[in-house]
Point group: C2
Chain length 606, copies 2
């Protein structure tokens, strides 16, 4: 069974749109993930009965408890409680019951179409004299005369198309000129056929794309797919290593990515009924290595110190030259990067912060690499910390990515350490948010010492045994696990988490020191990215990944990189702002700091 | 046997270059055609013995008379008299005996490489810090820093290439940036690999191309081929008609032309040992219909009144988009046209006149259409006259194009009308220059009345008979002709020539009137094009194609359109000048002139 299921959401006044999710999530979680404020007062715990939706497709059967919250009429209409309905395959959710806004896709992205500026591609209406029998003025000359202040650069094919409607006897011709960068006309058409743009966010693990109307800023379709480069390695370092095995290997990493993106473009075009040659602009963000793969650039510089690619700024190139299925006229603009492994995705996140850029803030995007930016009065310091794969489920005995069967949440209740699992079945591992929760709970219950050693207290809550990786607590036995392998946490796993959180905390500390600030000075901590969206602020503080501050200052800003890519697509001013931003950000190479090792060793403790 | 033979000319100090000619020409004629001042005092008549060359390949055997001019040592070395050696196939001519200049190709084109300005593509030498182990500045950023005042727009492929030489430990990197239009860097390379450009002159009958070094202006290779569009019609009107039979037909006219040009490019690249991706600029001239075919534009507007294409100005587009085998970076610039059927080839001719543009002059390019420009104190009037195919050998009973077996020259000598024939064999027809000479001689001998009627005098020189096209003089009988068909001139043929010369003379008269000038005011008459190159000025005046002026004012300027295309390739100033030129030229539509018919009827008389 494929883990990914397509969810279609239909709103009364806002059309419909589709999204991918994982089987095992319940509809409440899916809607929350998609940015809806789901009705209800119990936060999805199943005891308020308010999250009513109509669901069709592959969802779990109705439970007795759920039935109690619904009237028989509602049940007949297919109404369900979102928090009880577990996704088992492709489903359609009807939100005619729940109150919704009018632009669902924008809300999902926390993006306001009206807030954007000028996309750099727009229509200019002109009318020109028709072709008169006694007047020998060629079509091109008539168009140029009507547009004296613009550079006219039409293709022969475009001229031939226009010529078909330039019939003798027609007194005037109404035309719509497509204006690029407010100065160059590269297409003229008889009817405005729409101007569309593409925003791309290239993650190591997953790819995101949005199709927008360049005139209105409306989000017309979104697509998200697993980055299929994973066949060459789950993490970026494996892919870099693979790409160095030969020209063909390097080429294939580029090709797989382009195919991946074209499949997403294709999906979105089908959904919106548009054609590829109407996509006139592309903006792209991502980590530096992904951006190099996108352009087909050599990534070997990222394989060894000083970890430098071929460019750190922005980059613009004809999108079709890369193989992207868009108009030949479309330029792809990559946002400026910030240096080292801090890429255009981080720049994009910063762009979404708007006026908050002037506050004192931390922006943290945790993945295999953690990107951290500290801002203070408009000045910024950025760094990346090699967190390793612990938070993404790698390197741990029972680690896994967030998906069906993953324990995503641990909590202490009634003298017991309990947990929740994604999906309805048995557990088979622990994902990132679960690991952080588990460590936090184990610390709170003194099962782990501040130094990271399992104590004798742990046997109160879990069976403890000696394994090859040190002492080991058994969370789920082999018999109860989905896979027949027990779900465990051992001393070595704890060390891995210590290394990961220590790396990020070290980056935070060094940046704070660089700016001569204390944790208490921080007004906001923005957690970006899919992983950041599910983290519990208090647990992050307790394990020491974040410094001790008021947990209400921690805010999940969701997929901010994608939002930033959209803002850059929709506004040439934003691109300029991004270039200026780069100049305000000092990139700090942690390894170059004299006391990096000391700070790091200090931060290994919880 | 193919009529076309390849002639390779090898000079002692100027390398070698190749050219196409027709079998049947003698080497003296070939060298004259190619622009060499061939040694000798008898102008190729075979009685001075000075035009000594060494020839290898398919030439005629040595005649007894020729042998008398040569020493036995010379004969052993392969020395021949150019005027006696008839081309029968591919040959090589060694000019080590004849005095020659150092840039043969430029001389062929009457073009001075040193006179040009800035081609708009040049190298900029930079050096950047190398990749240091402790300094993480990406290559692109280092290049941008070295070129702060330029727009950097490199392809990913180019960056990857440079990355290969950016080895750690190399202290500095010397690079050569290719600068377009003095502001945009679109390629950076380790070693300057040369910047080359292509000049194209697209004629209805034949195509010309030259490959130039954009830095030095040197002509590296030239190619000339028959326009293979002739399979869709010899004349332009047939091709327009054919192209309207469907999209495929229109497409094929474009495709055949591009293939034709690519074959020429290929020849030149082989000859010069260069590769296509080093061609960074293309300039093209031609008549308006050929330019439309080049771009793949609809030509139907030229099929009916008011004979208007889709553009009259210049046009610039990415050359590779048209299918031309050149660099992706190359822009093709079409020179501005002057209106109606007066195309960029005429603009190009004007560009070669330089300061003479300020004089009072006529520029005449005779083909199926005659293009005529009258200049006076910097102001110009242009028109095209539908001369019809008479001067190109069409429409006449025994007309043919200049080629083997064509009578190309008639003259009165010792009470007889004699003639010369291209090639060594029998005659089979009369080409354009022969027709004009013949009419002139017949007029001089009173064989034709001023009204164009054959008189009884004609029987003094030729057998006269009655044919289906009126009275007919037999120049060569069926028995003596190459084809078994007699070579004749009849009353109807004379009418055709009257129509053709009348059309051109009418254009001249109307332009002169427009400018309020008299023929005597003319300081120069420039005859351009291959046809113009072989015309006898006095005969042109006698038949009334040119007004009565001092024949020394008539000057053959050779393939001026090609020269102009080269000037435009080599100088962005010339392109600007061409745009200004267009504004100084008033296009006069002859058919719109109230008294056009009267003037035309008057001009039918000789």
């Amino acid at each position: 069974m494929s883990e990914q299921c397509r969810v279609k959401v239909v709103e009364a006044n806002a059309g419909e749109h589709s999204f991918w999710t994982l089987a095992g999530k319940n509809v409440y979680q899916v809607l929350e993930m998609m940015g809806y404020d789901v009705a209800g007062s119990c936060a999805g715990k199943g005891n308020c009965g308010k999250c009513k939706v109509r669901v069709q497709g592959a969802v779990s059967d109705m439970e007795a408890l759920e039935q109690e919250y619904l009237m028989s009429e509602e049940i007949r209409q297919g109404v369900r409680l979102a928090c009880y309905s577990v996704v088992k395959g492709d489903i359609t959710i009807y939100l005619d019951i729940m109150p919704t806004g009018h632009d669902a896709k924008s809300r999902v992205l926390k993006y306001n179409p009206n807030s954007t500026g000028h996309s750099g591609v727009d229509y200019k209406y002109i009318f020109i004299p028709g072709r008169l029998n006694d007047q020998a003025v060629p079509l091109y000359d008539r168009i140029q005369t009507a547009l004296p202040e613009y550079i006219l650069n039409l293709s022969p094919g475009n001229l031939n198309e226009l010529n078909k409607v330039d019939r003798p006897g027609r007194p005037t011709l109404e035309l719509y000129a497509v204006l690029f960068d407010r100065r160059e006309i590269r297409l003229v058409e008889r009817e405005p056929q729409g101007l569309y743009g593409l925003a791309l966010d290239l993650g190591t693990t997953s790819l995101f794309a949005a199709l927008l109307d360049l005139e209105t800023g409306a989000v017309l379709a979104m697509a998200s797919q697993t980055n299929m480069q994973r066949i060459y390695g789950e993490d970026i370092i494996s892919r870099i290593t693979y790409s160095q095995t030969g020209n063909e290997a390097a080429e294939s990493l580029h090709t797989v990515l382009i195919n991946n993106l074209n499949a997403m473009i294709d999906d979105m075009l089908k959904e919106s009924g548009l054609s590829a040659h109407r996509i006139f602009k592309v903006s792209a963000v991502g980590n530096p290595v992904m951006l190099h793969f996108l352009l087909g650039l050599d990534v070997s510089g990222f394989g060894t110190t000083p970890f430098t690619g071929l460019f750190t700024g922005g980059f613009s190139t004809r999108a079709a030259d890369l193989g992207l299925n868009v108009s030949n006229l479309a330029v792809m603009q990559i946002l400026p990067q910030l240096g080292g492994f801090v890429g255009a995705d981080t720049t994009a996140c910063l762009l979404t912060l708007g006026n908050c850029l002037q506050s004192t803030f931390l922006l943290i995007d945790i993945g295999t690499n953690g990107e951290i930016v500290l801002g203070h009065k408009g000045q910024m310091w950025a760094s990346s910390a090699a967190a390793g794969p612990a938070f993404e489920g790698g390197a741990l005995s029972s680690g896994m990515r967030a998906g069906s069967g993953a324990i995503d949440h641990f909590y202490y209740q009634d003298g017991k350490i309990d947990f929740t699992t994604i999906g309805e079945g048995r557990s088979r591992g622990i994902c990132g948010s679960g690991i952080i929760d588990l460590l936090s709970v184990l610390l709170a219950t003194d099962c782990i010492s501040p130094g990271g050693n399992l104590t004798s207290m742990s046997s109160r809550y879990f069976p403890v045994r000696e394994g090859s990786r040190g002492q080991e607590i058994v969370i789920i036995t082999a018999e109860e696990s989905l896979t027949g392998t027990p779900v465990v946490l051992n001393q070595e796993d704890i060390r891995q988490v210590q290394l990961a959180k220590g790396a990020i905390r070290t980056a935070i500390d060094i940046l704070l020191r660089q700016a001569r600030l204390k944790p208490a000075d921080l007004e906001h901590i923005y957690m970006a990215g899919a992983f950041g969206s599910y983290l519990d602020a208090e647990n992050l503080i307790r394990i020491g990944l974040l410094p001790t501050i008021d947990s209400s200052k921690v805010k999940n800003i969701g997929n901010a990189a994608a939002q930033g890519a959209i803002l850059a697509l929709m506004s040439t001013d934003i691109i300029n702002e991004a270039s200026k931003l780069k100049n305000k950000v000092a990139y700090i190479e942690l390894a170059d700091q004299a006391d990096f090792q000391d700070v790091f060793l200090n931060n290994l403790n919880f």
